[in-house]
Structures are given as C-alpha cells and as structure tokens.
Subunit: 445 residues, 2 copies
C-alpha cells in the first residue's frame, strides 16, 4: 500500500544505491517485498532479494510464486539456496522443482534428507495440474476410537507441523479415510465422547483429479480444506481453501488471457520482459491472421461483384464485426457455464437450440435497425441486403459459437484456444459468403 516507499526502494535499486535500498527494505513487510519484486525484472528482483536479512529472506521466499523462486535459485549460490529450499512445504518444493532446469532440480532434491526426497518425489509423480501436486502431506489424522480430549491433545502437539488443524482427517489403521471432523466440532464435544461420534462422513478428492475441479468444489461448498486420497482411499494429504484460491487465480489468469487471444504471462506484468510479452501473443496473432486468409480468398472470389458495386465494400467490417461479436458472446457465455458446471458437454443440442433462437432475436433486432438506417441512407435494396445478412450471420455465429466450447471440452482441449480461431475463421468467411450471395441475388449481379 505504501506506494511512495515501494517506488523509493525501486528507484534506489535502479540507481544502484544498494545501502539505501537495503535500509528501506527493513521497513517493508514480506508481502510488500513480494509486491516490489513483482514490479521489476528478474535481475533486479534477485538484487533486491540478496539485500534482505537472512530470516526476512526465508519469509519472503516462501511467499514468492514458484516462477520467481526459480529465478532466485538460478542467481543465488549453493548453501543459501539449499537452506531456503529445505524450509518449503513438500508441495511447494515440488512446484519449485518444476520451474528449474533438470540439473539444478536434481542437485536441490539430493540436498534433502532421504525421507524428504521420497515425499517430494511422490508429489512429483502425480500428473501436472492434478490435486496431488497441491496437497500438503502434513495433515492431522486421528483414529475413530480416540476420546475427544486425547484427540485435542494430539491436535495441539501437531499444530506447528500441520498445514491446518481446523479440518482433521479420521483414518483407519490402514490409513484409509473413514471420516472428517472440524476443530469446531471437536472443541464443542464432551471430553468423554469418541472422535467417531463427532465426525462427519468422509468428503475427499482423489489424488489424480484435476486441481481446478477440486478447487471449484471446495469454494462452492464453503469447505476450509479437503482430504486427498489415493486409489485405495488412503490419506495422502490435504488441499486447503488457500490452495483452492491459488489454483483458481491461476486458472483465471489462463482463461482471461486466452479469451483475449494471448497466453498468460509467466510473471507479473511489469516483471515480464517485452520479449516475453511478445512471445505470449505472437503465435495467436499469426494463427488469427492466417485464418483471415480465408476471407481474402472469399473476397477475391467476389471481386467482380465488388467492381460492379463498390459500395458493398463499405459494409464488410460491419458484417464480419457483427459475426465475430455474436459468436464471441455465445462462446464466452457457454465457456463460463461449462467452467462453473452449469452446463455439460452432453447438453450440446439443448444449448445450440437455445442459441439459434437467441441469434434469431438478436439478428432480427439488428437487421431491422440496419434495414431502416440503410434504406434511409441509401435505398431499399441495400437495406434488405445488409439487414438479411446481419440476421443470417447472427443466427449462424451464435449457434456455432455456442457449440465450439462444448466440442472442445469433449476433446479435452482448452475451450478458448479451440473456439476463438475457429469462430473467427468460420464466421468471417461464411458471413462474407452469405453477404455476397444475398447481394448478388438482390441486385441481380
């Protein structure tokens, strides 16, 4: 929040006045430091990190995104890195190792005690983007037959080690999950009762489930944490609402970037180099430009028509713009509904039938307005051409736009990556085709 202090530290670092910067950094909270490091490039972020006192540095390191942690690891040397790495929770260790070159990752992993290596390797063994990668193994687990007062004693003992003590797993002797109990319920129960009297039925996620699906469930059902089990329903870790928040923030980064025809940035905006911003956009831009070549082809097909009635060119942007917007509207709505579970791929026909009607109404409204305005500005024939083209393109674009995300979901591809280029290509080219066919019919060309 203290922007002037933030800017002052950044200015000092850029001016290489390091003693000044170091002094001001002591007045910043760990989160302020993380924020500052997110506003400068990788090189200066490392400089800032090295100016921190040792204990401060460990606090800050834990709060950094894995990507920036990786940058730090690459610039720092041996012992400091090993110490910072060892202090991370097992799932955070795994996330950081993902960001490092194989040789560096191997060295770091082997710097750990063998038991920690094993735990970390188990996590790395789960598929990327699965909830197993996020679940912290440091979960409090109680036996069902334990009296409540002894249970609370155990919880107190594990409080500094555990990820959370507010949601506790109840397991059998073979560590299979048999129930879940909240600290609130334990605390309010009579001491003589048993854990199994107080616990609720086991809610859990399987270790290979997609982290995003589990995160949405946790948020939708107002849970604070969810036990994670393996194939034999044995407890392997716990996934907290904090984890859910991070997972969903990353998903939203990705979804919002792709809806805007780009890839998500690997670092905060001001910490990303111009070259990396270009990298996140250039492929999309080239693919979309290539798809525009279809429209070049269609327009060349109708070059004679254009020569005979040049004014038709004036409405090309309006036609393809309306098609693009209508298709995007439908795709956006359906993509969001899919993400929230309001709609499933099996609903595809229901959805398309709704969108055909939506497109019809939108096209009728827009077409009527265009018919009126174009008739006043030009003549009835032009009005009929533009009005009927808009109506047709709205119906087509809405239907196609709604179907694309659901086809994408069935093919297990990202809906935005799949939908946007396809909608643009298909609707633009088909829209122009319709436009000229109608124009030729109405004007007798």
């Amino acid at each position: 929040m203290r922007k002037s202090l933030e800017n002052s530290i950044i200015d000092a670092v850029l001016a290489e006045d390091l003693p000044n910067a170091a002094h001001q950094l002591t007045q910043s909270s760990p989160l302020d430091v993380v924020s500052i490091m997110g506003r400068v490039g990788a090189h200066h972020a490392a400089v800032i990190f090295r100016l921190l006192a040792k204990d401060r540095a460990a606090e800050v390191f834990e709060l950094l995104e894995p990507g920036i942690q990786g940058d730090i690891v690459r610039t720092l040397g041996g012992e400091d890195v090993v110490m910072l790495f060892a202090q991370l929770a097992p799932d955070d260790k795994a996330a950081l190792l993902d960001e490092l070159p194989a040789a560096v990752a191997k060295r770091l992993l082997e710097s750990l005690p063998f038991s920690d290596q094993r735990v970390t390797n188990v996590i790395l063994g789960y598929p990327t983007r699965s909830v197993g990668r996020w679940a912290n193994p440091r979960v409090v687990a109680l036996r069902p037959h334990l009296p409540v007062d002894e249970a609370l004693q155990l919880v107190r003992q594990q409080a500094s080690w555990a990820e959370t003590i507010y949601t506790i797993a109840v397991v059998s002797d073979s560590r299979q999950l048999v129930g879940v109990v909240g600290l609130r319920d334990l605390l309010c129960a009579q001491d003589s009762r048993l854990v199994e009297d107080v616990m609720s039925p086991a809610q859990f996620a399987h270790v290979t489930e997609r982290a995003e699906d589990v995160a949405r469930r946790v948020v939708a059902q107002d849970w604070l944490a969810l036990p994670v089990v393996d194939r034999e329903e044995r407890l392997v870790g716990i996934f907290t609402v904090d984890d859910a928040g991070q997972v969903l923030t990353e998903e939203e980064d990705e979804d919002s970037a792709r809806a805007g025809a780009s890839e998500p940035l690997p670092r905060p905006y001001l910490a990303t180099s111009v070259v990396n911003i270009v990298r996140s956009r250039v492929v999309w831009l080239m693919v979309l430009a290539a798809s525009a070549l279809f429209t070049v082809h269609v327009l060349e097909m109708f070059e004679t028509t254009l020569e005979q009635k040049v004014v038709l060119a004036a409405f090309i942007p309006l036609i393809i713009g309306t098609g693009g917007n209508t298709g995007t509207q439908a795709a956006t709505t359906v993509t969001r509904a899919l993400a929230l579970g309001e709609v499933r791929p099996t609903d595809v026909l229901t959805v398309m039938f709704r969108e055909v009607r939506v497109g019809f109404l939108l096209g009728a409204i827009l077409g009527a307005a265009a018919l009126l305005l174009a008739t006043l500005a030009y003549d009835v024939s032009t009005g009929v051409v533009i009005g009927s083209t808009l109506m047709a393109i709205c119906m087509l674009a809405a239907t196609v736009g709604s179907a694309m995300p659901m086809i994408a979901r069935t093919l297990r591809v990202d809906p935005a990556v799949f939908s946007t280029p396809f909608i643009t290509t298909f609707c633009d080219a088909t829209g122009l085709l319709l436009y000229f066919v109608i124009a030729r019919a109405v004007f007798g060309l």
Copy 2:
C-alpha cells in the same frame, strides 16, 4: 454428480409427474437440489422447491443464490417465506432483500423481530459492492486481558452462533479492534497466559471498502477471515474466505462476460430464458455495430481508391482483424494486471511505452510475413502496403489497447465496458485510414 438421477427428476417435473419427482428428490443432497434448480427455468425451479420436505427446504434455501431465492419468495406464500427468511444470516437477508420488489422486501423486513430488523438495515445501509454488505455481524470478540482458558470457554459457548471460531477478533471496551487471534494459537497457548500475549496485530477491512479488493487481499494473504470495522475502527462483522470465494466468482462472471462483449447472466445458463440471454447481449451488439459505422464512413471516403484497385478490398478483414486482436491482447493483459494489483493507473506511461515496443515487434514479425506472402502472391507494392499497414496498426492498437483499461480505472468505470467498444471503433477506423493512405501513396492513386 449423479446425472441420471438429476435428469430423471427434471424429466419427471417437466412431465408433471410430481409424486415421482418428490420421491426422487428425497434421495438428493441439498447441493444436488441446488444444481437441479439451476438447470430449469424459474417456474419449474419453484415447483421443485415446493416438493421438498420442510427441513430439507430450509437447507436448500440457504444454499441458493439470492436471485433464485428471490424467485422462490415471489412464488411462495406468507408464512413459509417468513420462516425461510428469518433463518438466514443477516448479510444473506440483506442480499435477498436486494433482489425483491420494494413492497415485498418491506413486508419481509417487518416480519422480523425489531433487533434483527435493525441489524439487517445497518447492512443495507452500506454501499452496494462494499465489504459491509458481506460481513456477518456474528463475530467472536474477546477482551485482551482474558486468560486463555476462559477465552476458549467463551469460544465454545459462541461456536454454534458465530460465523467462524477459527479467526477471533480482540476488542477494547469500546469495541474497537485491537488485535486478531487464530484458534490455533489460542489452543496451543498455556492456559495462564492472556489473549493479548497470543494475539497478532489487528488486520482488518473498512466497512466501505470494495468487496472485490478485500476478497483479493484475503485470498492473496491466505487468511481464513478478516474482521471488518467502521469509521471509528469499531468491530462490525467478519468477512470469511467463503465470502471472498463468492465475491471473486461473481467478479469473474462479470469480467469474463464483458470481455466477451455481453453482460453476465442473472441465473445459471440453463435457468435463464432466451429473452434474458438476448437482453444480456443486445445492447453490446448494437453499440459495437454502431461503432462500425465509422468504418462505413472511412470506406466511403476511399470509394474512388477502391474503384481503382478493387483488390484492396480483399485485405480489409485482415487489417481490421489484426488491429482488433492486437488491441484486445493489450487490453486483456493490462486489465488482468490491474485487477491483481500488479499494475496501477499511475503506471500508465510505463505500460504504454512497453506496449509500443511490443506492438513494434509484433508488427515487424507479422508485417515481414505479410510482405513476403503478398509479394509472392501478388507483387512487391501490394506486399509493402499490407506489411507496413500491419506494422503500423500493431503499434497503434497495442498502445491504445493498453491505455484504455487504465483510463477506465481512473474514471472508475469497468475496464471492459470502456475498452472494448473504444478499441474496436478507434483501431478499425484508424487502421483502414492508414491502409488507404499508404495504398494511395504506394500505388500513386
């Protein structure tokens, strides 16, 4: 999850086989019922709700979104509604009242005991979208000088009444917030110590802060709950991570809809009528179509040029498509960075300077590819025209696209509502202007 049961219930309701539907509903969990009600229109949702047993109905009602709660209230009669309403938490009462016509809201409010009315009215007094609307007044508050064992006793007593017992506020005699203590810390402290020995410095939100900003803070800092205070720093309620999750989901609904040129839907997709879907899109579509009239004007200005070289029309979609995509990319990236606090409106010049360079590199890559392809397909002059136009439009669109969201934030308008039409209008029209000016220069028209 049990889709076949869900579909079977919906089929029974649509076929008006109500005894069958009622029987199957007894096998569904409250969340399943909420999901089912989200897949049918308002009328059938009300039918389903009336088939529920009384206690089941109360559970389900609490889980419904305020909008669907409002639908139910409007269809149900007197006593049932009063009872359902009275059971809601104070902030949920306020949210529901917002959804009702004034007369109905007044009647419901007056059905409450006077103290409950007062509490609810206080919440309604806060600005919409402020955190005060979300904060639950049922917060556990302790005095600093209380010994830990007595504190835990108090917490146990309030456990069934309080929104949460895991984050506890510490207040002075005048109810001013002096600190915050987690249940974990209380539980692990020695009984003889005092609350003030164990508590942390007060973290809080002001009652008039935007709920979205507070929600992002809660998620970013991994808090489970945050006390909310009024202007005199007196405790008024607590904002939990559950609340944060709901706030951010609603914000994302809105942001993702507007990025796709539409308004967010008021109900789940399948529960929204075709007419309401059209309502969420038609204004956007008309505004964007109206902005396309600028391009009609520009193209009419250059009608002579087009007559002389009709093939220029073939590249119009490519030119404006590239401008639109580049502008959207920049706007999307900057909008997201603003939402996450990575960038502030005061960074506008820094951001624009980055984007000018990004646009230059993108334009150079795209322009070079276009120059090459167009030269091969047509001739060097055409290649030069298209290549240089694409380069110019990329630089312009990226710069303008990045500035719009920051100007919007400064004017306190939604960045997407402000940016999308402006970028489309400006970039399309300017892009075509540049295109024809360059074409006339190169071809000597």
